[in-house]
Amino acid sequence: MLKSWIPSLGRLRLIVQLLMLFLCVYGAVFVGSYSADKLSRALPALSCAYDQMNGGYCVLIRAQHTLHHSIGMVIARAGEVTFSTLLPLLFIVGAFFAFFFVLGKAFCGWVCPLGTLQELVGRIGRRFGIGVRRIEPGDLWPVSRVRPVKWLLLVGLVFLLPLLTGLGLTPHALGNPYCDVCPARIATTLLSGNADQLALNLGNAWSFGLGALANWLIGFMLVGALALRLPFCRICPLLAFNAIFQRLSPARLSKPSRAKCGNCRICTDACPMDIPEISQGEGKKAYNEDCTLCGRCAEYCPQDDVIRIQWAKVNVFRSSRAYYKARVREALPDGTVKPAAKGQGDA
């Protein structure tokens, strides 16, 4: 019975993603209006604080607020930084790390509501036969040109500008600039029936510009995700924030050696982030900063025990030829559902 409901890791991940999407966007309906405060401490890095029905707040808005209101303003007023000034930020990072200590980068691949939405759009694209575009030489761009963007957004929009605004050096409208450009703000509020966040503020040029960029991003994401898997995740500062701690988490991707690897690159084809290192590398190099621990590379590796998803060195899932054969009967590595499997696929 369980096997028929959850025949693959991909199906299990889809179920978890949908449950977490529901919690993130509508969670307050079930656990009360003020639950976001509580859940945010237990499960930081959840949903958009602008969504009034959600079950938790995103860690990025808390980081920006602390830098803007607490640290920046205190430095501006008193000209000094004390331990108590930094304490809120340390708590945020600590809570964030505690969360990621358990889940690691699986947050991105299993929990993030924006990731889930992009994957759902991608499924629609596969169903309508739209071919997958890739961030790789010969198609769009090499990954080396895209990867720095998320670090730039993390440093610039999440840390630097809120701090400068707290210091009074940049306009107030730049107090939480990442939230202003985040497409999740628009996506999750629209899902809760609120179109307010789609409207642009005409009274402030900065607000208008940032909001326009967010709207452009959500539009680009909704159409682009039909062909390009997880378009926004590739520049998401939360992925970068997460990557800082990925070596510390017991949850990880493991490819100890290429000795048994067939060099077929199917794992990279299956990877929604188009990570070439998973097929070309081994050891630490294989667990790349862009990895979301979705597990698709392990699912689509045709060699026994080459790629593993581990938690505290325990194999949660490992590649096997038998699993690969069953999986590929339903869907191709890029998610395209085979004609015979249409209607029952879960790629």
Binding site: S33, Y34, S35, A36, D37, K38, Y50, Q52, Y57, H69, G131, D139, L140, W141, R145, V149, L152, G156, L160, L161, T165, G168, L169, T170, P171, H172, A173, L174, P177, I186, D196, L198, A199, L200, N201, L202, G203, N204, G211, A212, L213, N215, W216, L217, G219, F220, M221, L222, V223, G224, L226, A227, I235, C264, R265, I266, D269, Y300, L332, P333
Partner: protein, 277 residues
């Protein structure tokens, strides 16, 4: 990517000096010469654990601050002003502020809420706790990034001795001159529609530079010959659609969609490799 890099650089180069903002002020009462009802008016404190309070209307010597963790502190009003602090050291979030004027046949209570941006427990317990005989209690309070706003409906519970009071009249007055009456249902809940009265009115800038104005709710009840009058005041903001354009927002969304259309062009398919392994 070039566009995003350019945009980030543009943001980073900005050096305009701006005045200090008034933080994430949640709905607490502020100035008021627009009503004869008592008002508790809040101003920003020196830090996140304090605020300045000004009382308009009743004669009271003390203001009580109830904290979300169960703490309770009294602060002296001098010339109708008090410097208040969080009820429990280091614990923020919503606090309930209340002054009380008591005579043999009359009990007047004025209340508001104050949001300290220090971390603190949810206000659920705070709002369930009985603070006076007759109470007007928000149900719920606005969460972060929300506020009472014109054209919106928000619910308030009227309780007497901790029990919901049905068929109770609730009077609304706003700083912009609107007046209204609402009646509680069998559960003691009144659904208050905030009037759309910001048009052409000068407002004060809150966080995000959106104007705010004060409002006060009043109810009264007579029991055993005693007359109870309670008010709750706070602020409400202008409708988000004022000064905003959904059309422009949708236009940029559509522009983003059009920008992504080239991605949908088919590329040359590589030979599927699953057959070769």
């Amino acid at each position: 990517m070039r566009f995003i890099l350019s945009f980030a650089l543009l943001l980073g180069m900005s050096g305009a000096l701006w005045a200090q903002h008034d933080g994430h002020r949640q709905p607490g009462g502020e100035r008021g010469a627009w009503t004869t009802q008592p008002l508790l008016l809040l101003e920003r404190g020196e830090d996140r654990a304090s605020a300045s309070l000004r009382l308009r209307g009743p004669t009271a010597l003390l203001v009580t601050v109830f904290g979300p963790a169960g703490g309770e502190r009294l602060f002296e009003l001098i010339d109708d002003r008090a410097q208040i602090e969080v009820a429990d050291a280091g614990i923020g979030n919503y606090h309930w502020l209340q002054v009380r004027e008591e005579k043999p046949q009359h009990v007047g209570v004025a209340a508001t809420v104050w949001y300290s941006s220090l971390a603190g427990p949810s206000p659920r317990r705070l709002l369930e706790t009985r603070h006076s005989e007759l109470e007007i209690v928000p149900a719920p309070l606005p969460r972060e990034h929300a506020n009472y706003r014109e054209s919106e409906k928000w619910q308030f519970v009227v309780r007497y001795e901790g029990q919901p009071l049905a068929e109770q009249r609730l009077l609304l007055e706003t700083e912009h001159g609107s007046r209204g009456t609402f009646v509680t249902d069998a559960q003691g809940v009144a659904t208050v529609l905030f009037p759309r009265d910001f048009a052409g009115k000068p407002g004060r800038s809150g966080h995000g530079a959106r104007p705010k104005a004060g409002f006060v709710l009043r109810t009264e009840h007579v029991d055993a010959g005693r007359h109870f009058v309670t008010t709750f005041n706070a602020t409400y903001g202008e409708d988000v659609d004022r000064g905003s354009s959904l059309g422009w927002g949708a236009a940029f969304g559509v522009f983003g969609m059009l920008s992504a259309l080239p991605l949908l062009r088919q590329r040359k398919r590589r030979v599927s490799k699953e057959q070769s392994c």
